[in-house]
Symmetry: D2
């Protein structure tokens, strides 16, 4: 049960430096709900990365970061344009619809990445009260399929969005993996590329738990987000422990180290298995999607559980192998050897 | 900043045994979202306290526990009858209204405790579609004013509720303090007293963060709660760390030790200051509400911040002093001495 | 069944001039959803009453007018301060909570009328994210208890609201009755008294069905209300027939005639029965609230059904007798004679 | 403006027999909110068509019938599978998402008709709390593209739905057109084909305004729908006038006559223009979808406005021509002649 597997970066634990930061913050009493020095220092760390004029708020998890971030800037009759593979569409059980009231308009995309071309499909009926009105484009970085938007690709979407009165929302549950993959500062692929609202993921990158919602100027959005967060059931009473985690993640290079390791391990895994399985999508972050015979999945899972992503033709399936901050080269090589053994038998 | 104060039990940190449990759970990979042995053992611990046939779900915080627990068992046109001082009414920024759609019908009560007499005020217009239909009674145990319902008082409310087709919901953010105060098992003042849905609080009693929603048979409620929790943005990915905390809290007597200490310190504080200030409500759990001159509040806060609860007459205010799992006799005596010094000067 | 009774002004039918206007509008095809000349002329009629710079939207009923009007100008974490007797609180089955997400904060008032004094009770915790933030005051004109706010009373509430960043909402389901009672133009007790959002009632004043939501500058509110109305399920496809009704009501003095008759009949009824029953509230519009022995209610209802409003002491109840646009002096005298006969027997 | 056009069946007025029924119901006082003989007789008429054991409720419009009907039988975390062209997805501004909280899962279909094959695409992730759980299939009869489901096609969807724990919802805004087209009783293509919840359209078939939501046993659904309707802002106070309209529509054969005329006129129009334009979809009810050069649309609209439905290739568009209960052969021939004239010039 404690073997490191390839099911999800959520299955990994807490990075030791993060856990140490939690322990270090466990001193005496501090004010609850964020009015404490740990939270303040975490906010400061975010400002060093993204600029002094941002607004940043901590929440418990990614579903809330996405849903409340959108709720803050959308009216309920608006729609969010996203990829058909988007986490907000596929994996949040209708939370954006329920809480924000919005409709999601989805686009079929190659490799999980939206382009202006896709967005345009939904840009009709503007001003017509019968149609939910496009109010935002939401992209995931890195995507649910392990691909990464370049800053230019993001900028193109942002320019289109802003030219049409829309906002650009980024689900950055794995934003650190994307930045590490591109070898760019976090700011370059978010604020500087035109993103308006960012869900900044911490949990998948070594935290016990914690995400942040960041609003970027010059659009001064969501001055009232603190009320939305509270009504959205996401105000942590002992917020110092979220703050302390983010401080540890962002003050040094831990965010980068963790993400870069996960990415490197995914590349290593892809390299190790490339002759044995077909890789379904470009391996640009910490996920490997491979095409395998369905009847061998059980044997493949003997190493560790992983998710079947999609059935291709009844015979073959796309499966997802995910690397984490703690995945080691030995883990990868062991899993690759197992894959080779199982599939060569076939 | 790190001095232990009397502002809130939320201002305390993590009990060392809880933090140790988190660290101990930080081994390798386990499945995310609750399908892990730590969560399973925590569920088992709850079952030992409350019976094998309960359903228990972990969430991040108390607002969510209350709101989602009610959402699970209410239709949106229903109403929840509660005290005018109830946390769900005063301190959750309209989360129950927003997420569950329900209306809260409030009653003026002495000392924060509802009785059947209060509830009856709202039991009219039944079956009339113009009125939100009473669907639940919600009580807080221990109450927001530091008082405690006896099992008989709860049973009377439960019997009335059930006789009228309502459910009894308990906001148990401080349920351990109530059980410790009554020196009763947790079950005696919840399930055995007729409670149908319980928010079980952990955060205020020494956890880093974590609450549970428990549904009691024989009313088999909310078989679909896992979907409500997810859509309610409260499904923790690294749930093992909530599970591990609850396992540590509930397997031994830590829940009782922490709560009993907080209660004892509140009684000690009340005893120490009784000749100096008027105590506003019976001190039955871990809160002391005292009446003090408003103009001395700043001086009183020189020891540590605390909340002004209510303005009495422009001259005097009710203030709240809260004890926590980590409050020591020295803390109490130091604060009491400070109070005495400040107020005797007056 | 077709006898004119005193249960409700909703029990009356359609004024002949209104029905004639519907028939007259039933010519050929016009565009649906309001882009037709009847709707345009109704809008023009409203502008003549309230000023050219208003925004006015038609909806089906009063619950929608109130709920959507509030939804347009409130954020979901906000609260609406109203009388405990307000229709939005007592008689809309939680529609404002469900659709707008808001909390209603109620005040005990004499005769159903709010004053600044009442509002102040809820003006605390401002800026505190734990509390739903007061965002509007809502008053009903004429009130649910048959009383009428003077323009000065409204202005005082408006000034207080605006000084504190709140809006003033008026549930004007019987706004015409109030204007007729005060012998003032509609504008004098709404826009000119500081109201920001008005539900303008038509149905109780002789329409088949139709209400309007009006937003007043200088606060340019709710430019996007057409989307809120559509998402709120209140966009009429054959809107010309709502438009035609309002044109007939407002272009001449029909609004005034209908309301003035109802008011006069209520005064007549009160005068006729004053020696026989105690009148509970000032009779200022078209309702008479009387205190009668509960055991005689069945006999009293032999004339026509009416509502028991409140139980006073187990022995006596407050009942409501409502006059409508079509109530005649003969109806009143007949009912008064019946009341006298029944109660004198007692 | 009063010429009968081909833009929409919503642009037609009130059938004279319906208007006469409204006038006839305008006698004296009756109880509001549906407790009146007209509403009762309308309910009885529905029972004669659909069986004595149905539950039927009147609402104002189709968006509400669909949204509230779904809200009554869905939990908010559920999803509704529908065609990508469905009115609930394209033309209700997100009302189902906002009010019911549900997600819509759409399928690309030929001619607007769902089949089991389409539905199956979304039947994965069952029991997985990350995904909105399919809870209903919704079909439109006749469809938004003017096609009609046969009873066998509906039965196949119903059987699949019921075998998988889903309900079958039918948006019957034009249910009478479908029944007339199939020359079947209303019951044959609804209840007897397995439909669980039906939005029964009146407005497009000659009413001033009014729709019904019908729940079919043996699944006894939505006993509490009256509260959902009220909270959903759709309880008409003068409901007698909706009741009287439905009584007039359903007691005799008016429902059939109106729908059959609209259908016949659409077939006539299609026949008249078939040599001149390409007909895009089978003309089975009262709509004709034709492919025309975009640059001639303005000229075509010189006869009367109509909607451009979809852009095909920048050069050509699909346009919709709709016939109504009052469309005459002369109207059709005049419009066809105009079309011929305009397009032959091209």
């Amino acid at each position: 049960m404690t073997r490191r597997g390839f099911a999800s970066d959520n299955n990994a634990g807490i990075h030791p430096e993060i856990l140490q930061a939690i322990a270090a913050a466990n001193q005496g009493h501090v004010l609850a709900y964020g009015d404490d020095p740990y939270t303040q220092r975490a906010v400061d760390a975010f400002k060093r990365h993204f600029g002094d004029d941002i607004a940043v708020y901590f929440v418990f998890n990614g579903t809330a970061a996405n849903t409340l971030g959108l709720a803050a800037v959308m009216r309920s009759y608006q729609a969010v344009i996203c990829a058909s593979t988007a986490h907000i569409h596929c994996d949040e059980c209708g939370a954006p619809e329920k809480f924000a009231g919005v409709k999601l308009l989805t686009c079929m995309t190659p490799h999980g990445k939206l382009s202006v071309e896709h967005v345009r499909q939904h840009m009709h009926g503007l001003g017509d009260e019968h149609r939910a009105q496009p109010g935002a484009i939401s992209i995931t970085q890195s995507t649910e399929l392990g691909t990464v938007y370049t800053p230019d690709e993001i900028r193109a979407l942002a320019d289109y969005a802003h030219a049409h009165g829309l906002l650009l929302h980024m689900d950055g549950a794995r934003i650190c993996n994307a930045a590490a993959a591109l070898d760019l500062p976090l700011r370059a692929l978010t604020r500087d590329a035109g993103v308006d609202v960012l869900s900044f993921g911490g949990t998948k990158n070594g935290l016990l738990g914690g995400e942040a919602v960041i609003f970027f100027p010059p659009r001064a959005l969501a001055a009232d987000f603190k009320f939305i967060r509270k009504q959205g059931m996401q105000l942590a009473s002992k917020m110092r422990f979220i703050g302390a985690q983010f401080e540890a993640l962002l003050c040094g290079d831990l965010w980068q180290r963790n993400a870069a390791n996960a990415n490197a391990m995914a590349r290593r895994l892809a390299d190790r298995v490339r002759g044995i399985v077909e890789i379904a999508y470009p391996v640009q972050a910490n996920a490997v999607f491979a095409i395998v015979p369905k009847r061998r999945i059980a044997d493949l899972r003997a190493y560790s559980f992983f998710y079947e992503w999609a059935d291709l033709d009844g015979e073959r399936a796309i499966v997802r192998w995910m690397c984490a901050w703690d995945t080691t080269a030995e883990d990868v090589d062991g899993f690759a050897a197992h894959i080779a053994e199982v599939l060569r038998e076939a």
